[in-house]
């Protein structure tokens, strides 16, 4: 029983960052119809900006986090302006290839700049865990969960409560009509890509101190983000959030009670099952986001 509770707590904490990753990716796909293969690289960049800010520049841990998120936001905006805007209107395969190329450049760039040896980001939290009955949780991970949930809530508020969010939802439903209503769709695309990218960078910056930072860390993260998006239904933000927690739970329980060697396979088994029964994802519904 104690072991089960510990597994559930672990899954909850991991799920928060998975949800962040998934939401960023699903937003970009839903609104822009772009399969973002730089998502994993942006996750890595977020972690390295965090590393640079904390370990190299000696910036306060809590100040470094917004810096990393801002870094992801700016890099995302740059990618959209330089690589996606010129290809607007070309078919999805073209943009997909451009994105794959950009992903490779970003990953090789971090390898070239920082080398292949993993880096550790020091955190200000105490080493000793918080002990609640039989369950132990590290303070750092609790902070990560709290920060992830806050960012998810902010993203929701942005989409549902602001004018920018209204324009994003309009562009998602019908970009031509939205343009006729005076929405600057090109600006919406840049904002969407920057927002999605900043969420990926945030996930990297949050998990960097929990694990270690290395150039290939984004590979598996990207794969998981795709899985979460498919699980939740393409373009569905709520679905991606719930999908993140489901994937974390599947991995944790699969590793705990089935076989730890196949931890990363568990999530994908669930996805195969979901796609067989509900090909549009668990939460696919009417044409809208939020």
């Amino acid at each position: 029983m104690n072991e089960l509770i510990q597994h559930l707590v672990n899954a909850l904490i991991l799920g928060g960052t998975y949800a962040l990753l998934g939401i960023g990716l699903t937003l970009i796909f839903g609104i822009m119809n772009v399969v973002n293969f730089t998502h994993g690289a942006l996750y890595t960049v977020g972690a390295y900006v965090m590393y640079l800010a904390v370990a190299a520049l000696g910036l306060n841990f809590f100040l470094a986090l917004p810096v990393a998120i801002l870094g992801g936001l700016l890099l995302g905006a740059a990618i959209e302006l330089l690589l996606l805007r010129p290809f607007r209107g070309s078919d999805i395969d073209t943009t997909m290839l451009v994105m794959i190329g950009a992903g490779i450049i970003l990953q090789s760039g971090t390898l070239w700049t920082f080398g292949g040896v993993a880096k550790a980001i020091p955190s200000p939290f105490p080493e000793a865990p918080l002990q609640i009955g039989p369950v132990s949780v590290s303070w750092l991970r609790l902070f990560v969960l709290g920060a992830a949930l806050t960012l998810i809530a902010l993203t929701y508020a942005l989409i549902n409560r602001t004018k920018l969010g209204l324009a994003m939802r309009a562009a998602f439903q019908d970009s031509d009509t939205a343009a006729l209503m005076g929405v600057d769709v090109r600006r919406i695309y840049t904002a969407t890509f920057a927002l999605g990218s900043s969420l990926a960078a945030a996930a990297g910056a949050l998990l960097g101190p929990v694990y270690v930072v290395f150039p290939q860390m984004g590979g598996l993260a990207e794969l998981k983000a795709f899985a979460i998006v498919i699980l939740g239904g393409l373009g569905n933000v709520t679905g991606a959030a719930i999908g993140g927690f489901i994937l974390a739970l599947a991995e944790e329980l699969g590793a705990g009670y089935v076989s730890s060697g196949y931890r990363d396979a568990m999530g994908f088994l669930i996805i195969i099952a979901v796609l067989l029964c509900r090909p549009t994802g668990l939460f696919a519904k009417a044409e809208r986001i939020g």
């Binding site: 002990q131 132990s136 290939q216 590793a255 060697g261 931890r263």
Partner: protein, 382 residues
């Protein structure tokens, strides 16, 4: 004008390149410089470079300089095999060193047989490497059975009753669990769970939660330094307090202390080199000289427990080339059997291992146990 200039330069460069090719004896180095094993592979390569520079400063081998051709196998077995093929066929290296991890080395081995080119194995510890009948393999690192054998007398004094394993899900990890498990059972120690983890895995809290709930008193872990750092941090986060003993010799205790901090306190590690007390090593003078050269290049002291293998590996290869009298793969393969010198962790001389007629070479290095106590490495009296 510019075109002609670049063309001339290119021809000059090409001439220089073929020039070095003719004068130098090339040694292939097949190591993981990116991916999960990047830290360890980079250390080994840096150790190899120190050996090469030292040998060249003394006039090289057979009157020629040696030249390392270093390639990155990306911690990936498929890449490791491709790198070996490239080193043999394109760079024409008559002998190689590699490939760090057991799965990487095992992937390279068929290529050695195909091209009849010898390889010195500097780090891998899976038993399969020297028992599968590949006569081109010469290993200076201990197989896990040898580690287990050296560890056996310490069991009583440590008071082990029941041991769980947490190992990498590859030849290195599973091999260690099998060899240590067999030895422990022979000694009357119970063996409980055998949990595995992927080599790139970053979150092992599921496995650790399971190990926390088990009634074993000790966890034996087989992995490399980056994952060990994560494991010790995650163990501390879960409040898992059991005796921990790691195997495999790729722990870089100083890096663990620097990156895992207090979480690593009390952990014990089976290692094959004692840079913390050079006077206790088989060749104290050589150990001190190596550590001095390492520091002089500005490398992190933490790396020496890994890099000494690259250093000894290249020295062993140089001995073999010297004895072979030529840089010919067949002659070097034969000459490996007569290599005999004192390495940084014991004598390097190869004994026959594996099926008769197709034996691989296995050297028998020293194995030590060390403990991390209050952020320092100590050698416990056991």
């Amino acid at each position: 004008m510019l075109g002609r200039f670049t063309l001339t330069t290119a021809i000059l460069l090409a001439l220089t390149a073929t020039g070095t090719r003719a004068d130098a004896i090339r040694i292939g180095v097949n190591e993981p410089l990116t991916g999960p094993f990047a830290a360890s592979g980079t250390y080994v390569v840096n150790g190899a470079k120190i050996a090469a520079d030292e040998i060249n400063a003394k006039g090289g081998v057979l009157g020629k300089k040696i030249e390392l051709v270093i390639e990155d196998n990306k911690s990936n077995p498929t890449e490791a095999a491709a790198v070996a093929e490239k080193l043999i066929t394109s760079d024409k290296t008559p002998v190689m060193m590699g490939a760090w991890g057991s799965s990487l080395t095992l992937a390279v081995m068929p290529k050695l047989a195909d091209y009849e080119t010898p390889m010195l194995v500097e780090t891998s510890s899976s038993g399969k490497i020297t028992t599968s009948g590949n006569p081109y393999v010469f290993r200076i690192s201990p197989p896990s059975s040898l580690e287990a054998e050296t560890f056996a007398p310490m069991i009583g004094r440590l008071g082990l009753k029941k041991v769980d394993f947490l190992v990498l899900n590859n030849d290195f990890g599973r091999g260690a669990a099998t060899d240590f498990g067999r030895m422990l059972k022979d000694k009357g120690v119970a063996v409980g769970l055998v949990e595995t983890m992927d080599q790139g895995a970053q979150d092992m809290s599921a496995q650790l939660a399971k190990l926390k709930a088990s009634d074993a008193d000790t966890i034996m872990i087989t992995s490399s330094v980056d994952q060990l750092v994560l494991l010790f941090k995650q163990m501390a986060a879960l409040g898992l307090k059991k005796r921990v003993i790691t195997t495999g010799g790729s722990q870089n205790p100083d890096q663990i202390i620097a990156q895992a901090g207090a979480a690593a306190d009390g952990t014990m590690h089976l290692t094959t080199f004692l840079p913390w007390s050079p006077d206790k090593t088989p060749d104290p003078k050589a150990t001190e000289a190596f550590i001095a050269a390492w520091k002089k290049r500005g490398f992190d002291f933490a790396g020496v427990t890994e890099s000494f293998r690259g250093y000894d590996g290249i020295r062993a290869i140089a001995h073999a080339i010297e004895k072979a009298g030529s840089a010919d793969p067949a002659a070097i393969t034969k000459a490996f059997w007569s290599v005999d010198f004192v390495g940084l962790n014991g004598p390097i001389r190869f004994a026959k291992a594996g099926p008769a007629g197709k034996e691989s070479g296995q050297s028998k290095p020293d194995v030590y146990i060390i403990e991390i106590k209050d952020g320092k490495v100590i050698v416990p009296a056991l």
